[in-house]
Symmetry: C2
Subunit: 405 residues, 2 copies
Amino acid sequence: MSVLVQKYGGTSVAGAERIKAVAARIAATRRTGRDVVVVVSAMGDTTDELIALAHSVTPDPDPRELDLLLSTGETVSATLLAMALRAQHCPAVSLNGVQAGIRTNNWFSRARITAIHPDRIWRELAEGRVVIVTGFQGVTDEADITTLGRGGSDTTAVALACALRAELCEIYTDVEGVYTADPRVVPQARCLPAIAYEEMLELASQGARVMHPRAVELAEVYNLPIRVRSSFTDAPGTLITRGDAVELRRRVQGIAHDTDVAKISLAGVPDRPGIAHAIFAPLAEAGINVDVIVQTASFEGVTDLSFTVARGDLAKAEALVQPVARQIQAREMASATDLAKVSIVGTGIQSTPGYAARMFGILAEAGINIEMITTSDIRITCVIARRDVERAVQALHAGFELDRE
Amino acid sequence: MSVLVQKYGGTSVAGAERIKAVAARIAATRRTGRDVVVVVSAMGDTTDELIALAHSVTPDPDPRELDLLLSTGETVSATLLAMALRAQHCPAVSLNGVQAGIRTNNWFSRARITAIHPDRIWRELAEGRVVIVTGFQGVTDEADITTLGRGGSDTTAVALACALRAELCEIYTDVEGVYTADPRVVPQARCLPAIAYEEMLELASQGARVMHPRAVELAEVYNLPIRVRSSFTDAPGTLITRGDAVELRRRVQGIAHDTDVAKISLAGVPDRPGIAHAIFAPLAEAGINVDVIVQTASFEGVTDLSFTVARGDLAKAEALVQPVARQIQAREMASATDLAKVSIVGTGIQSTPGYAARMFGILAEAGINIEMITTSDIRITCVIARRDVERAVQALHAGFELDRE
């Protein structure tokens, strides 16, 4: 029998009525004769509330303890969903990360799945039950509970779908699918019927919150089709696949934007080998993700270097870079947080001349200054002032005619 | 190094400030050089809130799912307490039921501890850490999470103390210790400096909420001293031990009362062998605890039979007894819920003439009618009208002069 994996996000299970509605949807799917494995996030804002609770006790909660604390959020929603399914006469059982066999390394708060031992899941499916698995969590070889970091439930769902050789992984959320831009910013934004893994990956990495990039990456490796859809409607949503024909399309698929951007700039950095390593190695060791890096051409042996990090990492990053800046005798160090990123994403756009120029032209016409630029194979990203970001997204969406099919 | 086990109840960890205060107390104990293992209940009313959450989804939650849900309550308090200890520079780690090696049978919602494998606890103690263990929960051989039933955290604490060969198990609660009667009913009630296991057992079984009878029973088997004390003060509390000298005291130690009493009466029951078994076997199978049983002398081959159960079990008990009553041709079946029990407890009172008569006399003088009477070696219990219970406790407390040392 073919296995279907469904993942329901926090808003889809935020409250008893929502849980019952989700249970009805799952029970209907089960009646079509497929084996169903469901991955759930914590209800609504539970994770944030648990983090706040930890901070009410200490400003700096121990990561191991925090992970064990946060793991309770998904256990609550998973057990409630299993109860709701049973109340609708659909046999169901909930399994936590340990019971579902989701093994991880011991990087607390950002653990990586190392293996999945789905013996118990297979056994429960063979008994005719829908299996509800807590997302976001796993267990180390030492029996410690870990969490996979924000968006980890998507990763749990995709990893389980791969391990169970599922036909499809459905990601249920509170929007209808993947849009050409954030519909809250661009009312004309369209829901895309299909998108390629790498396009989704770039959109997700550049601020589109609909799916976690790690999960997309994993799905691409195993060539697992994903359907992103709403748990509130019956709309078909967006299918994420390898999409071979997409390669030839050479058009902008979507606009992503992200306001979680902070910048550190070093002026007057001696331009010699090893400098970049000296600056970025401590950040990497501390697990701080550096996003955009821009270095100006060297002039008289010194250069200017800027890079961006998430705003939550800024204080930590500054503390790490400060001593290095002194050591390498940089002239000045500065930081800024009033920034945003806006990106255009589409397979082939980087290999096709004109897209970058068109993007810069649209922004210039809108009077928006570009602070930094970075590109990938299928993406062009500009760092701009945060106050300009909504106008930038709207201008780009119109300029690249994304409101048309 | 000697091990001390401390258990903190729900009111002791109800909120961040209380958790920090408890952490300070634990850290101070740790500094005296002892190994400390702490068992915690869920914060405040968490367990009741989780039960209400389950009932918002279904009127009849599956016991396995409910246990997994409820187990999150203790995980939250345990992790917060470990964080608070670390914030006070006291190394600490929290362990859930699985990690602490607390194995149980699969009687969900009322599981029994079958074994404790404290390897991880020993390892953490050897690393110099205070070990915080989630009370009330365990794990079956099939890796399912169970709960031990209400008051189960006391049982966890005592069982762990026995397994770790602890010198002492301290039960921290919101009262100063074991009182001669409920101080809310009898303002003159005294806190007892010491009490024997069996006296505590009778008091706990008969409604004194300070400690769970299962835990007292277990402590008695292993001869583990228990100290019941308040987490809000430094008062020494009450020491529960074998108390050999106590045996000779022959006095009433305390008054217990309980309003969670419902009665089922069968009138005109044929008095022949096997009748009692026919009535009580189905109740036992359903896990319903029958407390007081009274059967009148047989007259013309028929007898009247009454027994009490907890009020929450009444509907279920009636449904089970109804068909049996028909089958054995009992003349009538009736039930009542407006009852209460009041008990006097003390080693040797049953073997000493006069205590029962004095108890009945005190109640008669107060104009309180006795509906049923039951006795054990060290206890005499009367079932009375619920509206009389406070007056009965006060009259007995005064009558047996329990306000005097």
